[in-house]
């Protein structure tokens, strides 16, 4: 099923043309990875999908991004962000306890019942494969967890509000290989229920986890295809050059 449809998307920050004429579809229950060198517009593209770019001043957008055929600018922004969750590059726990971090979004959407919150927190932590490690530490500060645990906590926090799409913005850039493997495992399991978009600087990570891979260069979508194809027989020379490590 088509989750996101992007039509001729252009984004400017001031005079910087950050995204240029991008058209694509994002299917549900798949991991789409977005690769490309620094400043190629990957993160900007990702932050378009939950309208987080709009926090910047002198931001301009043309074209459209549709979530299930509805223009995302027509969806109430809180509702859009509940449906389209995001995990950031660095583990960013809020300065709250483990429990309150996961419960935060749920509370903001109006859930006050203690029982219901506890259920949601446990479910989300289980989905992020963190429950067993933190079930006795729920009232501790989230900053006491290790980096990898913090990042899975952030995933749980995103899952708790019941999203349909999860955006990962280089989620493993600050993690060691073992923590990275755990986060990748979680992502692969998540695609059964969610649509996953993964921006990564790590080409190998894309090859490991993604069903489809999109290659961005200077704000343009150069190529989007099945991950196997991108890594074995890319159509574009530039894609080939990037994944072989010739530039970037």
């Amino acid at each position: 099923m088509v989750k996101f449809e992007i039509h001729d998307l252009n984004i400017w920050f001031g005079s910087l043309h950050a995204i240029k004429h991008v058209n694509m579809e994002i299917l549900s229950n798949e991991i789409l990875s977005v690769i490309g060198p620094a400043n190629s517009g990957k993160t900007t593209f990702l932050r378009t999908l939950n309208r987080l770019n709009e926090l910047a001043t002198n931001y301009k957008i043309t074209g459209a991004a549709e979530l299930e055929r509805e223009d995302i600018r027509g969806i109430e922004i809180e509702e859009l962000r509940r449906k389209v969750g995001m995990v950031f590059a660095l583990p960013l726990p809020l300065p709250l306890s483990v429990f309150d971090n996961v419960a935060y979004g749920v509370r903001m959407h109006g859930e006050r019942g203690k029982k219901k919150l506890e259920e949601k927190v446990e479910e989300a932590l289980r989905q992020a494969y963190l429950w067993e490690e933190v079930k006795d530490r729920l009232s501790e500060s989230a900053f006491k967890l290790s980096g990898g645990q913090q990042q899975r906590l952030c995933i749980a926090r995103t899952l708790a509000v019941g999203p349909e799409v999860i955006l990962f913005d280089e989620p493993c850039s600050g993690l060691d290989p073992i923590s990275t493997a755990k986060v990748e495992d979680a992502m692969v399991k998540l695609k059964e229920k969610f649509t996953v978009v993964l921006v990564t600087n790590n080409v190998k990570q894309a090859a490991r986890v993604a069903d489809k891979t999109a290659f961005f260069l200077s704000g343009e979508l150069v190529e989007l295809d099945n991950t196997d194809r991108i890594f074995t027989a890319p159509k574009d020379k530039r894609t080939d050059g990037y994944i072989r490590g010739k530039f970037g």
């Binding site: 987080l52 509702e79 509940r82 969750g85 995001m86 950031f88 300065p95 903001m108 959407h109 900053f143």
Partner: protein, 282 residues
Amino acid sequence: MSNSKTSQKIAFFFLFLATLLIIVPVGLIIVIIIQKGLPAINWQFLSDIPRQGMRAGGIFPAIIGTIYLVTGAIIFALPIGLLAAIYLSEYSKDNLLTRIIKLAIVNLAGVPSVVYGLFGLALFVVFCKFGASIISGSLTLGIMILPVIITTSREALESVPHSFREVSLSLGASKWQTIRNIVLPNAIPGILTGTILGLGRAAGETAPILFTVAAFYLPRLPHSILDQAMALPYHLYVISTQVPNVDEKIRYGTALVLLALVLIMNLVAIIIRYKFRKKKKW
């Protein structure tokens, strides 16, 4: 080589000397005031009304007056200052109006305190018909400390990491929810610090209360907020310059009480800031 080392040593020496010099006036003020004022301090001095034309008795009404004035100033200035700071740091766009507001705040901070006194006299005492009263004095002091509160609160709000806001918004929280649940709680120590610094300033100023509230001699407690009141800084001025033959002990005793009041407030601010900083994890 040795030449540059020597000049470095000389430079260090002078930098250190200049820094050391800062301690001298602070230390001297405190030492002299304690030395001369401490003998006056006893329970009667703190709890009795002034007697014999302020040449004996205590300064209780002045202490209470100052506490009333400071409390009133903060009740007025904290909500307005905080709300303005939230607007400026979280909502305002960089446009002409915002720039005018910011300029106004800077100028408000630069206005001499005696001008506030005159302004308070014209607006609150005369125009609003509050008369010389605690409410006129409190409002005047409140306006005087507004810029301190706005500026420190804004800095406190802006020092909350941007990433926290993004996380909160990305979870579908509204902007106001984000401010209330994430930004404000983490800015509280900074806001408190600014507030207490404002309090200290309000407690110590003489000029703004001169025309708006301060009673020359009122040996009783004020009855209501529309009543005049004595206040420590003005009382100190009066017994130092207006009343002949006041014992030096009493003057320095009053100064000591005022200084202690302000220093205690600053100390509380420092302790709060320290405690919250230790808790801070980013």
